[in-house]
Structures are given as C-alpha cells and as structure tokens.
C-alpha cells in the first residue's frame, strides 16, 4: 500500500475516542484497527452479529464460525458478545454506534454518500451500508481523493445512486482531511506538504479554507 494511504488510515484512527462503539466498513476502514494502541478502550461492532472484535486471524488459526461482515476471520476479546442480525441493526438504528467509517465512490458537498452501486458495472447489493450511513452518530469516509482515472470523488452532487443523504461528517483521503459543513467542503488538514491549492484542484466542488493555519497529518495515534 502506498505510504499516503497508510498515513490516511493512521490519521483516521485518531478519530476514534476512548469508550466509543465503532463499526469499520469493509476495505480501507477495516485497517484502521491496526493503528489503535493495544490497550485502547473501544468496542468494535460488526453487523453480522458481534461486539468486541479482536485481531484478524490467518486461516490456520481461524474459527470457521467467527467472521466479520467482510468475511475476514476475526477473534474475540474479553467481553465479546454474539447476537442475531436483527439485534445487530437494532444497535445501529437506535443510535448506539458512536462512529462508523465507510468507503465511498462519491461524496457530495452536502454530505450525500454513494458507495454501493455503479449502474451497469457494479451492483452487488446494499448490504448493511444504508443503515450504517444513515444512523451511526458520526459517519466518516475513507477514500482516495480521486478515482483511478483521476476524476474527483468529492463532488458538488453525487451522480451515482445514493447510500444515504446528508450523512457524511468528515472525509479522510490520501491528500487531506475535509469536513462537510453547512457551507460545503472545508479543508481541515493536508497530507505531508501537499499545497491546499493542489487539494482544491483535485476536488470537484468548492473547497473552503479554515481561518487558521492548516495543520499537517500526524501519522501516530496522538494520545
């Protein structure tokens, strides 16, 4: 993985405050867990029916009945609990998730998220993403700033089918940290010396600058 992506993931890990209940979406978000201190007080939730996820395991150490929603073999921690799918989403919809980190195809300047369908190309179904996006108390996105063709993934409005409207609070990319505010995208931090103008250039909607100096990413978990 590129070091920019690694730094993005490490920076996103700092979004997790002690005591939170957190769901890490499939893909880049799952890797955030590797950047948490070993004794960090947090409860990880997976929508297939578990709280208290422990480290992922290689096949030879795996329990055939113990996976996360992405199909990875995981482990327990002291205090883990198992439950059915209705209970799992009861947690999500009733507001017991403090934070979810999701991937994205597109995010709009009003916080709309599109991450489940590209008509004619990719339509595997929505899974648990709609409820996570719509109901977690805070939704942040981890994504490359642009797609493989260099087109911006942060846009004025989404062109793809939506996962949920006005749900994203913050976006971590391989270039910057960007907040979604009532005024649109606001640049919070840039990555390792990338000029703000370059971030704005790669963003498909106006990018406001904060009044204060822009900090740069710190890669370590600063607590």
């Amino acid at each position: 993985m590129s070091s920019a992506k690694e730094r993005m993931i490490a920076r996103a890990a700092r979004e997790i405050a002690p005591g939170m209940v957190v769901n890490l979406g499939i893909g880049l978000p799952t890797q955030v867990v590797n950047h948490l201190p070993r004794d960090f007080p947090v409860c990880l939730h997976t929508e297939n029916g578990m709280t208290g996820i422990g480290p992922t395991l290689p096949p030879d150490q795996a329990d055939r009945n113990l996976i996360d929603a992405g199909g990875s073999y995981v482990s327990t921690v002291p205090g883990s609990a198992f439950f059915d799918s209705a209970t799992s989403f009861a947690m999500v919809r009733s507001g017991r998730l403090d934070l979810t980190m999701l991937g994205a195809f597109e995010v709009s300047a009003s916080g709309d998220l599109a991450n489940w369908k590209i008509p004619g190309k990719f339509s595997p179904g929505v899974g648990g993403g709609v409820e996570l996006a719509q109901k977690a108390r805070r939704v942040v996105v981890l994504t490359t700033h642009t797609d493989r063709a260099g087109n911006p993934k942060l846009k004025e409005t989404c062109s793809l089918p939506l996962t949920a409207r006005a749900c994203v609070a913050r976006i971590f990319t391989d270039m910057a940290v960007i907040d979604v505010t009532p005024r649109g995208f606001v640049l919070v931090e840039t990555l390792g010396g990338i000029p703000a103008a370059e971030v704005a250039e790669a963003t498909g909607a106006p990018l406001l600058l904060p009044d204060t100096d822009l900090p740069e990413f710190e890669a370590s978990h600063g607590r």
Binding site: D39, V42, C43, P78, F89, R93, S94
Partner: protein, 230 residues
C-alpha cells in the same frame, strides 16, 4: 483493544433521572423487577414520572413504592390485577393509566430499541384497544399503527453481568428486561453478580453491553426479591 468499564454506584446512576422523565422498569411480577434501583429512585425523589412497566407489582412492593411516594403521574402497562392500590389511584384520577395488550407493549418497546418508528398489527381490531389509533391498510386489511416506545432511562435487573454491561437473566426474570435494555437513552442495570470482562460466555449473553450505560452489583438482595408468601 479492551472494552470500557461501566460499573457504577447505584445512587450516582439514579441521580441522572429528572422530574418528568419516562422510566422503563423491567420485571413481570417479582422476577426481574429491579427492587433496589426502584428504592434508589424513591430516595432520589424525582417526580412527575411516566413509568412503563408490565404490571404494578403488589401493594408495598416494587413500583408500588413510587406510587405511594406520589412520584408517578402516568403509567403505561398491561395489567394491574395484583395491585389494588394502583387500581384505586387510577379510579380516583391520581394517576393516568394507559393499558396495552401485553405483546404489543413488548413490540412497541422493542421497536423503540430497534430504531423502528412503529409496527403494524391487527391485535385489538374491533375492540376498545383500537380506539384513537391510526389505521393503515395492508394487503386490504386494516392494521393499527403501534408506535415505538422509548424512555429517558431504563431500570433493569440482571442475574449476572460483566463490567462492560453484558447481561444475562435467569428463568422468567427475563420478561421485559432485554427489550427495555435496548430502548432507553440511559440504561441502568442492577446485577446479582458482577463479573470481570470475559466472565460471561459470548454465546450466552442476553443483552449486549453496547445497549447498557451503567451496571451496579447488588450488595444484598432485599426481602422483596424473595418468594412471595400468599
């Protein structure tokens, strides 16, 4: 990663209850009724409460203490048959009582806990239980809109718990406890035994700790928990 510690003192947890709050209280008869948390709420004194509980216990027991102390203005319940005092307060207009079919009360609380707005049910159609309720046609048949119930605080009785708030119940002390433990902004559980993390088997947990905000071990079981001598 380690799971956070939610163990607490009963009085400090109960102190969060404000006058006018909606309070769910577990239990069906004696089993599962959090007698000690109820006593702490009497000591705390918050009044004008709406209590949501299957039944009103018996005179001199359980939530009857809250009725005696005048802290309750409204009761959402299914049956008061064993508490003549509660029936008298209702008949003289000192408390307002809303009766629900028992399984519908359970579903409304579960819906609140599940982040669902309401359930559509045909229970009570053609009886006075249907009066005043919104009706929706479903496949040509009328259904009542049974709206979700949530509370500010839920008071729960568990048999065993760990410090993250994972709970296990025994026998018929389960009843409304697992439902109410999902359906309040602040969930306070008393437990007969409090265990360290890992003390409960992950497959035998009835209420996941994610739903629970505070858990307190009971120093002793008062006589109200005992077998009722009739």
């Amino acid at each position: 990663m380690r799971l956070p510690d939610k163990s607490c003192k009963i009085a400090s947890a109960i102190a969060k209850i404000k006058p006018g709050d909606r309070v769910m209280i577990g239990g069906f008869g004696v089993p599962g009724t959090p007698m000690t948390l109820i006593q702490a709420l009497v000591d705390h004194g918050a009044d004008n409460l709406t209590i949501i509980k299957n039944d009103a216990n018996e005179p001199g027991m359980g939530i009857d203490h809250l009725l005696q102390s005048g802290q309750v203005s409204r009761l959402i319940t299914t049956h008061l048959g064993l508490n003549t005092h509660a029936i008298s307060l209702m008949n003289t207009g000192q408390i307002k009582v809303e009766f629900n079919a028992q399984g519908i009360l359970a579903e409304r609380i579960r819906a609140g806990g599940a982040g669902i707005g309401a359930v559509l049910s045909d229970i009570g159609i053609g009886t006075e239980l249907a009066m005043g309720k919104q009706v929706v046609e479903l496949a040509g048949k009328p259904h009542l809109v049974e709206t979700a119930l949530r509370a500010d605080v839920a008071l729960i009785h568990a048999d065993r718990a760990d410090i993250f708030g994972n709970l296990a119940y025994v026998a018929t002390a389960q009843n409304f406890n697992p439902l109410m433990a999902m359906a309040a902004d602040c969930v306070i559980a008393e437990t007969e035994t409090l265990l360290p993390l890992g003390g409960l088997a992950a497959n035998a947990i009835h209420t996941a700790g994610v739903f629970v905000d505070h858990v307190a071990e009971l120093a002793e079981l008062s006589k109200e928990y005992a077998v009722v001598q009739r």
